[in-house]
Symmetry: C2
Subunit: 455 residues, 2 copies
């Protein structure tokens, strides 16, 4: 008892100090846990960090070993600098940056030297002329090179090279005015950059290489698997058990596909790096990386249709109706849906494993054929002669999809309203009607307006 | 006649040379056109390129003016280097990179110097010890800093800072072994980096500033407008005229929303930069940029439902059926759909303009209410007592959505098959069945299998 009260008193005497320490400790622990999780998720990240350490240590040997240092002088710094900026997570990234850096340095250095030689013809008298020529060259060269970075093709593949080009060109044309032995300086600079690039490439390629191409290959297959997981889960749990009462909400298979929707940036950058990589494992140098991007685009479109289906199903589930007037019909269509869903899921899983193993698979086509047969069987269930019925069905589907759209619009209204509140949007003059939009978006529970045309 | 044949002969004598020149010329002209187009699309890009030129010219003055150069020595190079790497398109980008660079240099420099002072206590005798301490420090420091870049929060905001920290720390701890006047060197280095950063910030902030925040604000509104454009176009052209015969394919409003689906990366980076920007125009320093990301996420989800709707409509149009058995019913539901579509479109357009003008608008809510009323009217059209009908409608909608999913799966099969062909996937052993998947995906016209359950 005494102890406890003592502790309380302590807190009371200086309420901030222990609180702050406690807070800091908690943050440090949280960060530690996060770091542990990141390392666990992909241990190659720890290896990469070690690789950067190794590459820097290797290159710093040039500084420490006196004969090597004397040969290159203080330019050795550039080798260290090159290692820090060029070393990337994947082999392709390092290759892309390293080669860009090396060639841009070479090109810009040669151009700058050439310009210097031309300008030096002006002689000592021409110093002001020389100076203005350099300033003009520098400005216009940098302007043009900067603009070229807005061209998407250059941006994607040579962005870093253009930066280094501007940098080297600026440094050479600026230095040429001050440094006497420009040629020897350029030679030193180029050698050190080459040493840095070589160190990076060596470490990237031979110490636990991480291939962008391999990662892209796995990512595309994994994304197909995520969609397969959703469809198989839906087929097994939702359609087979009890259509509208079986609560599938909160199940993990319903969420797994969502990350597929935002995979474009990762895929683009991996494909971009993969193009620089030499052949490795099952991938040749001219592996069709573009085709992976095409599959990725179709997969995202696929994820979109699944998103629409998922949204419709969860709206249905929230409206809790239990009409079961025609059990036979219901059973038939439900079986067909379950078949379509799980067979498509199996087909996708087959495709994913075909990509992973790089083997043709006939199973995917067979599963898809079954899914298609199930889709056709739905046609047969609905009596073909009843054209009014067909009309209604078609229109009702469009109406349902549109209803989903309207529901989405309501969410947008709520989000924009929240923005208006946070950013203090100007209110309309007439009497400050607090929530002109509010009547619709006022209630805070998720599905504000469940318009369910089937009710 | 003579002339022409002469020209032909010329081509004949050296078929490659004119061909190559012609090819090169064509490429140059194409690039020129592209550059012109990029400049026209956003003239601020040309201004940005000029700004980089101006900033470099400004900073190179330090090199050319002798008293300034004598004060800083060859470290002036670091100012040029800083300008080249720090200058970004938006104010927020420049601020983020510049502040990251300045603080990382300061912190790493101080740490490196401190370590040097500690190690120098070892004296001349301790040279090997000193050396191993530095190499170890360098390696482990770089390893830890590199690993921290995998933490998403650090990656998003301080990625560049960590790079510069590694760089400066490496340079200081490496240099400390060679350079005598380390303090003076550190002082020079820091001043030149500060000069570089200041030049960039000055040019970014005061010469035609491009605000990331303003761009994000406009982008979010523009994306809502694109969705509005689709819905209003659909309401006006598709539903009102002739449902399945009116060919809306190829109309521009059908495609405009597609870019919304891939807007995440741009929005994230703009929001990230916007957080660094000081208050400007209508935006305060603490403007709720996160809320824009939320609106963006909902907008993308919205675009997904529209994608599903669009896919369904285009499948319908390709199947060309002309059942018009119950014109009155059709008319009613068509009117309701047109109302839902165009009123939702108008609501979104209102929201976009509300964001743009930063004004509350009650019109969006009113339009949305109308759309909801139309959605409810669909319920009334379908006779409420006929529960079998309702059952069918609900199940049919799910079946239609699933059919779309199956159709998507077919596209995936085709794309993976193409990959298998390009990447030479291993074929199954038993008799090299050329196209095990082919029977389904063989035909090359777009909708290979139009499963239309309403037929």
């Amino acid at each position: 008892m005494d102890k406890a009260s003592g502790a309380n008193e302590k807190v009371g005497s200086n309420p901030w100090c222990p609180f702050l320490i406690h807070n800091l400790l908690r943050k440090v622990i949280k960060l530690g846990k996060k770091i542990k999780k990141i390392g666990k998720e992909d241990p190659r990240r720890i290896l990469h960090s070690l690789k950067v350490g190794i590459a820097l240590t290797l290159v710093s040997i040039f500084y420490y070993v006196t004969p090597l240092f004397n040969g290159l002088g203080s330019s050795t710094m550039w080798a260290v600098l090159t290692v820090v900026v060029v070393m990337e997570y994947t082999v392709g990234g390092t290759l892309s940056k390293g080669l860009n850096r090396a060639f841009a340095t070479l090109l810009a250095g040669a151009l700058g030297l050439g310009a210097h030689q031309l300008a030096s013809l002006a002689g000592a008298k021409g110093e002001p002329i020389l100076m203005s020529i350099f300033v003009f060259m520098l400005g216009s060269g940098a302007t043009m090179a900067t603009f070229s970075r807005f061209v998407p093709e250059i941006k994607a593949r040579y962005d870093y090279g253009v930066t280094i080009f501007i940098l080297t060109f600026s440094l050479v044309s600026v230095s040429s005015y001050r440094v006497e032995e420009l040629i020897s300086l350029a030679h030193q600079r180029l050698s050190t950059v080459a040493i840095g690039v070589a160190t990076c490439l060596f470490t990237s390629l031979f110490v636990f290489p991480v291939w962008a191409g391999g990662d892209l290959h796995k990512l595309v297959a994994a994304n197909l698997d995520k969609l397969a997981c959703f469809l198989e889960g839906l087929g097994a749990e939702f359609f087979v058990e009890k259509m509208e009462n079986g609560n599938v909400e909160g199940k993990s298979f319903l969420q797994s596909y969502k990350s597929v929707l935002n995979s474009k940036a990762t895929e683009d950058s991996l494909a971009n790096f993969a193009r620089w990589e030499p052949g490795h494992g099952p991938f040749s140098f001219r592996h069709p990386w573009n085709q992976y991007l095409k599959i990725g685009a179709i997969t995202r479109q696929f994820a979109c249709s699944i998103e629409a289906l998922n949204a419709y199903i969860s709206t249905l589930q929230q409206s809790h109706h239990t009409t079961a007037s025609d059990p036979e019909f219901k059973q038939k269509i439900q079986t067909a849906c379950a078949e379509m869903s799980s067979e498509t899921g199996k087909a996708l899983a087959e495709l994913a494993s075909a990509i992973r193993q790089m083997k043709w698979s006939s199973a995917a086509g067979q599963h898809l054929a079954k899914a298609m047969a199930a889709a056709s069987s739905v046609k047969a269930i609905v009596p073909a002669e009843d054209s009014t019925m067909l009309e209604i069905l078609r229109l009702a589907t469009i109406a349902s999809l549109l209803t989903e759209v309207v529901r989405c619009a309501n969410q947008v209204v709520i989000a924009v309203e929240e923005l208006g509140r946070l950013a203090e949007f100007q209110r309309p003059e007439h009497g400050r009607k607090a929530g002109a939009v509010k009547p619709i978006a006022g209630v805070e529970s998720p599905p504000h307006v469940v318009i369910d045309i089937e009710k």
